[in-house]
């Protein structure tokens, strides 16, 4: 049923206006200066909108009147055929307008020639043209898909798919096809209104072959319970039910489907990331979209929450998607009128467009389509097509991507360098240049580039190379130094000398310390002289601090001693706590780039410290309260001392680890995380043991229940605090309102 095979009825061609007006001035031609200014931005790695140079510029507005065919009326879709013919689906006029790439009218199909006489479209919503020029139209009002040739003769007609149990079909709504797409081998994909089972897939002859693209059902506990109760039929129906209503559809040149999903108004960024609104489906319905960018492609990342009082809120409402070649695709946000352009790996390249009454802005954008380098946006309220062309900046980026794909890296690098001239902060360019530097062996420079490009993976690669290069270069020196040290130790051992300091410090900190310093520093010695002995009430601060080492390795003994013999432990505990806070901030800020996921520039010291101190003190208070009820022997002081001493492994391990992380590569991530979680576990274990010791619990189970109840109690405290503060806020708003009125009304 190809278009070529259809007999040509020249006389029967009913084209209302078969115009070939070459001299016609099309629409309003705009120069650069005419083009509307639109603040353009891009999202950085933290999901914040940052300035970027203008990427696409509206160069032309195409309107029906100036084409000489009367105004478009609520056009809903646009398609550029592989042959470069622009098909505008002029929905309210129930016609298809075909334009050439110079925007001259080729023909207007407003009547379908069928063997049984002329037929008309009825509020059609979607259009697709295949390689042979056959036009597929989702003829929504007539509940069918029609396949026409370029002259408007009917080639085939596909009515409602023969499928049972689709709620939308059995309800009053019926089959209302909205968008249609056809892949290489002629399979037809349809988005229909109210159908949330996925895309309807038809075979080339129009037989229903299934739904595709419904997300996998993740089985939850409640599902399991229900499945015990339900019959098999009910279960099947339930499996199908996951509301996914596709909004836009595009078939790329590989025959894969790009689809967009309209996100819920109240969706958060996290939900957008876990259930991405842009997908690339294989014919079997598997999502194969690459999402290597900082965020999964989802339109706007930063948006006013649905509960805020902003005029436009909620996530982007993606309505259409189109590919631009070289794996680059763009999605159109109908809500804010923005076009988001992504590369094949899912990096956001550009954002442009907005809602407005200026050139290059839209009122109700409904469809996006590419034509060569240009991007066309169809506006159903302005009844116009806006033609965007890339600026030199965007041109360079797109060019570099193409060159990279065909392996011409040198040319690509030259273009990326151009790009940096326009936008010194363009991450992709930095990454590409970094890769080139890496290939040339400029590891240090590559590291800088990857850091600017915020590419941890490549940074780590460069670091690994750099590290081994350094190691190679200084291997001799390092090796000989090590050899000297080893030999020295062996020799000294052989000579019978002992290395006393370390071991003794571990075991008997105060004594060792005082012994250590007695002869060297009169000041410290005087401080240490206050140490009486192990059973005495007073020990020096330093000794108390160093006792933390003992506690770490001998928690039972250590905590007992802290509780019963060391009165200075509170003081030392406070110091340890502050050290842990500082160590935490240090870790957050100075962890190597490969492992650091914190936005260092936005870090707030007080907030970081508070994130340690608040849970800490809540733990202390609640634990004390809980254990008091549970016959614990420990005092509030004991609880504090245990918690603070218990945290010391975090500082002890965290700080060296943080320093080491700057020299670690991604392959060593397991080691890094093992050590990091080891320190946390250690701390937890210490606190657990400490709790047992100070409260003199004999059973492990008693301690476990005490700890659990403390955790629950902390939850309650946080909940009450939240309640209190929201109440306080309500009071504040009220008082402020009354004051305002008092000031301005009286």
């Amino acid at each position: 049923m190809s278009a070529a095979g259809y007999p040509a009825f020249q006389s029967a061609i009913r084209l209302k206006a078969s115009l070939l007006v070459t001299t016609l001035v099309v629409g309003l031609s705009l120069t650069a200066a005419d083009a509307g200014y639109c603040a353009s931005y891009i999202y950085d790695q933290w999901g914040r909108a940052v300035d970027a140079p203008e990427a696409y510029r509206a160069v032309r507005i195409v309107e029906g009147q100036s084409l000489g065919i009367g105004s478009f009326k609520e056009p809903q879709d646009i398609f550029v055929s592989p042959g470069g013919v622009v098909h505008v689906l002029d929905s309210a006029n129930n016609r298809v307008v075909r334009l050439d790439d110079q925007w001259n009218v080729l023909s207007v199909i407003d009547e379908i020639e069928t063997p049984t006489g002329p037929s008309r479209l009825s509020n059609p919503q979607g259009i697709f043209v295949d390689e042979n020029g056959a036009i597929f139209i989702a003829d929504t009002g007539n509940r069918r898909i029609v396949k026409l040739d370029a002259q408007g003769r009917l080639l085939a007609e596909f009515g409602p798919p023969q499928v049972e149990d689709v709620a939308a079909f059995t309800s009053g709504l019926g089959y209302m096809p909205l968008k249609v797409g056809v892949d290489k081998i002629g399979r037809i994909y349809v988005i229909a209104r109210g159908v949330n089972e996925g895309l309807i897939r038809l075979d080339p002859t129009g037989n229903f072959t299934g739904f595709i693209g419904a997300p996998r059902v993740s089985v939850s506990l409640s599902d399991l319970v229900w499945s015990r109760i339900f019959t098999r039929e009910q279960r099947d129906r339930m499996a199908l039910f996951l509301p996914v209503e596709y909004s836009g559809l595009h078939v790329d040149d590989k025959g894969l489907l790009y689809v967009t999903v309209a996100a819920g108004e109240t969706a958060t960024l996290g939900e957008l990331q876990s259930r991405p609104p842009i997908k690339r489906l294989s014919p079997s319905g598997v999502d194969v979209l690459v999402r290597q960018g900082f965020f999964a492609p989802a339109g706007d990342l930063d948006f006013a929450a649905a509960s805020s009082d902003a005029t436009v809120k909620g996530p982007s409402s993606l309505v259409d998607i189109a590919t631009l070649g070289a794996g680059v695709y763009c999605a159109l946000d109908g809500k804010r009128g923005r076009v988001f352009v992504y590369d094949s790996r899912g990096y956001l390249l550009f954002v442009f467009g907005s809602i407005g009454s200026r050139k290059g802005t839209f009122r109700t954008p409904v469809a996006v389509e590419s034509m060569g380098k240009a991007i066309l946006v169809l506006d159903s309220a302005k009844n116009s097509i806006t033609v965007f062309e890339p600026t030199e900046y965007a041109h360079s980026i797109l060019g570099a991507i193409v060159l990279e794909q065909i392996g011409k890296y040198d040319g690509a690098i030259a273009l990326w360098e151009q790009v940096l001239k326009w936008n010194a902060h363009y991450e992709l360019a930095h990454v590409a240049i970094g890769r080139a530097q890496l290939a040339k062996g400029l590891y240090r420079e590559a590291m800088d580039s990857f850091r600017l490009g915020y590419d941890r993976k490549h940074y780590s690669e460069a670091l690994a190379d750099y590290r081994s290069e350094i190691a190679r270069r200084y291997f001799g020196t390092i090796a000989s130094c090590l050899a000297v040290v080893v030999i020295a130790v062996v020799v000294l051992r052989a000579l019978g000398c002992r290395i006393p300091v370390l071991k003794r410090t571990m075991r008997r900190p105060s004594e060792t310390a005082s012994a250590l310093f007695r002869n060297r520093s009169p000041f410290i010695s005087r401080a240490l002289s206050s140490v009486r002995d192990e059973t005495g009430a007073h020990t020096s601060l330093l000794a108390d601090l160093l006792y933390a080492f003992h506690v770490c390795f001998h928690p039972v003994d250590g905590f007992w001693s802290l509780k019963h013999t060391r009165r200075g432990a509170t003081r030392a505990g406070a110091v340890i706590l502050s050290v842990v806070c500082l160590a935490y901030v240090f870790m957050r800020q100075y962890t190597g780039f490969t492992f650091n996921t914190v936005d260092v520039a936005r870090m707030n010291f007080l907030a970081e410290v508070a994130s340690i101190l608040i849970p800490f003190f809540v733990w202390c208070v609640v634990n004390w309260a809980v254990t008091t009820l549970m016959d614990g022997k420990g005092t509030a002081r004991d609880v504090f001392v245990v918690a603070s001493y218990g945290l010391s492994p975090i500082a002890l391990i965290g700080v060296p680890l943080t320093i080491a992380s700057n020299f670690m590569v991604a392959e060593e991530a397991q080691l890094y995380h093992l050590v990091l979680s080891g320190s946390v576990l250690w701390a937890a274990l210490l606190i657990f043991v400490g709790t047992m010791v100070i409260h003199e619990y004999t059973g492990v189970m008693t301690t476990v229940s005490a700890v659990l109840m403390t955790v629950v109690g902390m939850g309650i405290v946080f909940f009450v605090a939240l309640l209190f503060f929201s109440l306080l806020d309500a009071v504040r708003v009220f008082v402020a309102g009354v004051l305002t009125e008092y000031r301005f009304r009286l």
């Binding site: 510029r57 930063d302 948006f303 009454s357 010194a424 500082l582 240090f586 520039a601 301005f744």
Partner: protein, 997 residues
């Protein structure tokens, strides 16, 4: 005999309409006569012959000549206040309202259609905060609430907008019989009298003679009827109420007759026959008594209800005391009965004819001791003056003569009533002056950005109407979220071209409060218009969501702008009637009013270089943010870049150096000109100055005064003293907005300097700046920002500083600096600053690109050309530098680049977002290439006026320079052939010596 003013106006209009053909013919004759006479007009002094005067007078039917001079004649229609201006040189007639609107108007209906007859309209918020619009026709002329008086060279009209009295207010509720006859009935014809008598009931309060037994029989049966009866009897004591009309009187006579008959019968006959007759008579008497009783009751109820409804302190009939009614004893009054609205309307018309007014009714109400309807409070007074000044028509609205209700008691505002002030918030002037119907208007020129044209015949009616605030927006008024670009009109001018004639409006006074508006036929009515609206008083709407008040509270400053709103209209004809003609006219106007001189001896167009010194950065050490500056370009490095350029042959460099002050681009409170240490300190600045002197470049260090940053306790900024206040009395800050969400973003506090402190700050800065020995300065934001200060007491007169006053203060400061011998560079350049500026950067080369705009025109550049040096936005900040370059050639702008010596630090460390394309090494080669390419053209056109600018084809424009040549630029990707000359794609052509054809 009813005369409807509405109808009479209509007949006037249709009369105008019917004389259209005659009119056009006569206009043609006048034009011809002018053309013939123009030959000897050069010699003659007046140029106006008696014939012409006669013809002119004939040409404007229903209008009266009120002023004229050598160039213009002003006519007015005294019954509608419409005006018309005759341009004697061309014979063009310009009407304030479209003369054929009765016939031509096909879209607007009712009051909207009548609005076409208005000359001005105003907006105000009523006491429930709804915005209302009143116009001079519907709300003033229709009620006859205006006065026309003559003034030298013109005419003055005082409008009272808003009806004083509601419908029916002139109909008295109660009126004594003699006053009713004397003032109303006697002045009406029989039909009118009948209409009145139908609706008014004559009621007498007379000594109760008990003639009707049983007194008043209430119509209402049952106990309430009995209660009413006793009530009435007790109120009137031994008096009673009786209707004064004929039926009652006849019935009473009948009753007496019947009674005497009955008595006769009783006396005469005592047999059975007579008994029947007696019974019969008794029945009739009984019935009649009943009827009379009902009539009396109705009259009493009407009277008592009228008193109850219209006397304060009385809410029930039972509240009326007998002593309250003594004044009515033995009186005869007419009381208004119930009437439907249409009857009320009829009677209202009749009573107006009788000459009885609402004030008379109020007098009668007072004498009847009741309160009638109150006069309305929303009544406004506006005065307009039309004056002929040489070849211009000047329209003046004295701001001091605006009248609006101030602290008046509004009984309807809340259930208990309250005092309200209803200020006029905006004034729209001459909306329909020169209004053009379909096909009549070539284009409307609006000052959006560089200037833009609206072509009504190519505009869809569905696009939004146009508006642009003159001199941008007032930042002291709050914005909750980032607004869609409102645009910025640097020049307070607008105009319209119709065939071979055009009108240009220049807002001379009050321009900082003006918004230029335009709309096309089909949007609101059948006409295309351009006009200005003045914000007479700023409003801040405070959301008020306490339990006591829901919704918003409008906050107003204590007074409206007291100066004049003044628009000057110039009439252009023939070749002059185009946007180029308008621009040149405006340039001449600027030269004439400010005594400017033109640069005629320039040999080159300067190369504008913007270098960014230090920028504020923040870094973090152990999570603690540290704010410091980072030098993108030190003084030494700036000298290096300039040196590179001048070695490559670039001459006449104007270097705008920003970020040199302590604190960098977001510099400290500029009380002193302290140089940032990171750019090298004051010694480095000194050596930069010397280095630039050597290479002939000029150094313009940039400083910003209007928005300031707080940097510490001792920076000299006293927020409570130096910062403007919003209307809600809080300190005024400027927010930055998130690019994606448009919501205000966390950032450094940026305050709006109070205009009252500007002079102090500038003086202090300049004293210190003098020591650097630099005689040039870039006053960036003074050129494009004007903010008011709503703090009461901020102005010298104890009031606030409105935007116009702020504009004047800025002008004063800049002119002061300029008079002290400094060369001044400003950004954008609001028109008022052009006289004091030596160069202007950031002159827009595009408009805001709104849908209604058809194309951009370099109006602003034509005006600036040969007055000052100017440049557009930096070329490297534009997405497409070739287009930016061509634009510079088309508009004769100097080339401009914004660079830094060092690349910008990572984005994370700085809040400034637009530093992404500054690094000079990437640009210097292409900049030099552009400079060399442009120099051939720019050196030729230096100091020359633009005398013609036209669009040759889509994307192909030609700009003709006075006496040297023309440049044709082609923005298209493909080459274009124009007049046999081929212009390559994205290229240009210099046609030396080609004069305007």
């Amino acid at each position: 005999m009813r005369r409807d003013p509405l109808q009479s106006t209509g007949s006037v209009l249709s009369a105008i309409g019917s004389t259209l053909s005659v009119l056009s013919r006569i206009a043609a004759i006048v034009g011809l006569a002018c053309a013939l006479l123009s030959m000897d007009r050069a010699a003659s002094s007046t140029g106006v012959t008696p014939e012409q005067e006669i013809q002119a007078a004939q040409a404007v039917p229903h209008m009266e000549l009120v002023a004229e001079n050598d160039h213009l004649a002003l006519y007015i229609n005294r019954s509608t206040t419409e005006i018309a201006v005759l341009d004697k040189a061309s014979g063009d007639l310009w009407f304030s309202n479209p003369p054929n609107r009765e016939k031509e108007e096909t879209i607007a209906r009712g009051t909207e259609k009548q609005r076409l007859s208005a000359l001005l309209s105003l907006k105000f918020y009523d006491s429930s905060q709804r915005l209302k619009t009143l116009d001079s026709f519907n709300h003033s002329v229709q009620y006859g609430q205006f006065e026309v008086s003559s003034i030298p060279n013109g005419v003055r009209i005082r409008y009272t907008l808003g009806r004083k009295w509601n419908d029916g207010a002139a109909l008295p509720l109660m009126i004594s019989e003699e006053r009713f006859r004397e003032r109303i009935l006697d002045r009406l014809d029989e039909k009118g009298q009948k209409q009145f008598l139908d609706r008014y009931t004559l009621i007498r309060v007379v000594k109760d003679d008990q003639s009707v037994t049983g007194g008043i029989k209430a119509r209402v049966k049952g106990t309430s009827g009995a209660m009413l009866e006793s009530r009435i009897n007790s109120v009137f004591e031994d008096y009673t109420v009786e209707p004064g009309d004929e039926t009652y009187r006849n019935n009473l006579t009948n009753l007496q007759n019947l009674r005497s008959q009955l008595e006769d019968l009783r006396r005469q006959a005592r047999d059975d026959d007579a008994n029947d007759e007696i019974r019969n008579l008794e029945n009739r008497i009984y019935q009649l008594e009943d009827t009379l009783g009902v009539q009396k009751a109705n009259a009493a109820i009407l009277l008592l209800n009228t008193i109850r409804n219209n006397r304060s302190g009385v809410s029930e009939i039972s509240d009326i005391k007998p002593e309250d009614l003594y004044y009515l004893r033995d009186a005869a009054v007419y009381v208004q009965g119930q009437m439907p609205a249409f009857v009320q309307r009829d009677l209202d018309q009749l009573i107006k004819l009788a000459g009885y007014t609402a004030e008379d009714a109020q007098e009668d109400h007072t004498s009847m001791r009741i309160e009638g309807p109150h006069p309305r409070i929303d009544v406004f007074g506006v005065t307009v003056e039309y004056v002929l000044d040489d070849d211009n028509l000047v329209v003046v609205i004295p701001g001091s003569e605006l009248e609006y209700p101030v602290h008046v008691w509004d009984a309807a505002a809340t259930p208990s009533g309250r005092y309200v002030t209803l200020p006029i918030v905006s004034l729209t002037v001459m909306e329909f002056f020169g209004a053009a119907g379909p096909g009549q208007c070539d284009y409307i020129f609006v000052p959006d950005g560089c200037g833009a044209l609206i072509r009504p015949d190519h505009t869809r009616a569905s696009v939004p109407a146009f508006s642009v605030p003159v001199y941008g927006v007032d930042n002291t008024l709050p914005v909750a979220e980032k607004p869609i670009e409102p645009g910025h009109a640097y020049l307070p001018v607008y105009g319209m071209k119709q065939g071979d004639r055009a009108v240009l409006a220049i807002i001379e006074d009050g321009e900082a409060l003006a918004t230029v508006r335009a709309y096309c036929q089909g949007m609101y009515n059948s006409y295309s218009v351009v006009f200005s609206e003045f914000t007479t008083m700023a409003v801040e709407q405070l959301p008020c969501e306490t339990h006591f008040e829901q919704g918003v509270l409008n906050l107003y400053p204590p007074r409206c702008y007291q100066g004049d709103y003044r628009i000057r209209y110039a009439f252009l004809h023939g070749d002059e009637a185009s946007y180029v003609g308008m621009a040149l006219y405006y340039q001449d106007y600027l030269v004439g009013t400010h005594g400017l001189s033109r640069q005629s001896s320039r040999s080159s167009v300067p190369f504008f270089l913007e270098l960014i010194g230090a920028i504020p950065v923040k870094s973090s050490v152990m999570g603690i943010p540290i704010h410091t500056t980072y030098a993108l370009t030190t003084c030494e490095e700036a000298a290096k870049i300039v040196d590179l350029l001048s070695q490559a042959g670039v001459s006449d460099i104007k270097l705008r150096y920003s970020g040199w002050l302590a604190g960098g681009t977001e510099h400290d409170f500029p009380l002193r000109a302290r140089v940032d240490q990171r750019v090298g300190g004051s010694k480095a600045l000194e050596s930069l100055r010397l280095a630039l002197m050597g290479s002939g470049a000029e150094l313009y260090p940039e400083v910003r005064f209007l928005t300031v940053y707080e940097t510490g306790l001792f920076d000299g900024l006293n927020i409570s003293r130096d910062v403007s206040r919003r209307l809600r009395k809080v300190v005024a800050q400027v927010h930055t907005f998130d690019l994606a969400t448009g919501q205000p973003k966390e950032g450094r506090d940026r305050y709006i300097l109070s205009p009252s402190r500007l002079e102090w700050l500038v003086d202090s800065f300049m004293d210190s700046f003098e020591h650097h020995g630099i005689r040039q300065i870039c006053l960036a934001d003074l050129g494009n920002e004007i903010n008011s200060d709503f703090r009461v007491g901020s102005a010298a007169d104890g009031s606030y500083i409105d935007r116009q006053q702020a504009a004047t203060m800025i002008n004063g400061v800049v002119s002061g600096i300029s008079q002290n011998g400094y060369s001044v560079m400003v950004e954008g350049a609001n028109a008022a600053l052009i006289p004091y500026a030596d160069c202007v950067v950031g002159v827009p080369t595009a408009s805001s690109g709104r849908d209604i705009l058809f194309e951009d025109v370099p109006f602003m550049q034509i005006v600036l050309r040969s007055l000052v040096d100017y440049a557009g936005e930096p070329i490297n900040m534009s997405g497409d530098y070739r287009i930016a370059f061509l634009k510079a050639l088309e508009t004769g702008s100097g080339l401009c680049f914004r660079w830094s010596y060092r690349p910008a630090p990572t984005r994370r460390s700085t809040e400034a977002g637009d530093l992404y394309s500054l690094h000079y090494t990437g640009w210097i080669e292409s900049a030099l290439g552009m400079y060399r390419e442009a120099q051939s053209v720019l050196s030729e056109i230096a100091g020359r006026k633009i005398i013609q600018h036209e669009k040759l084809a889509d994307g192909v424009y030609r700009t003709t320079y006075d006496d040297c040549g023309a440049v044709v630029v082609n923005y298209n990707n493909d080459s274009a052939t124009v007049d046999g000359l081929s212009v390559s794609g994205r290229g240009y052509l210099w046609l030396k010596g080609v004069a305007d054809q």
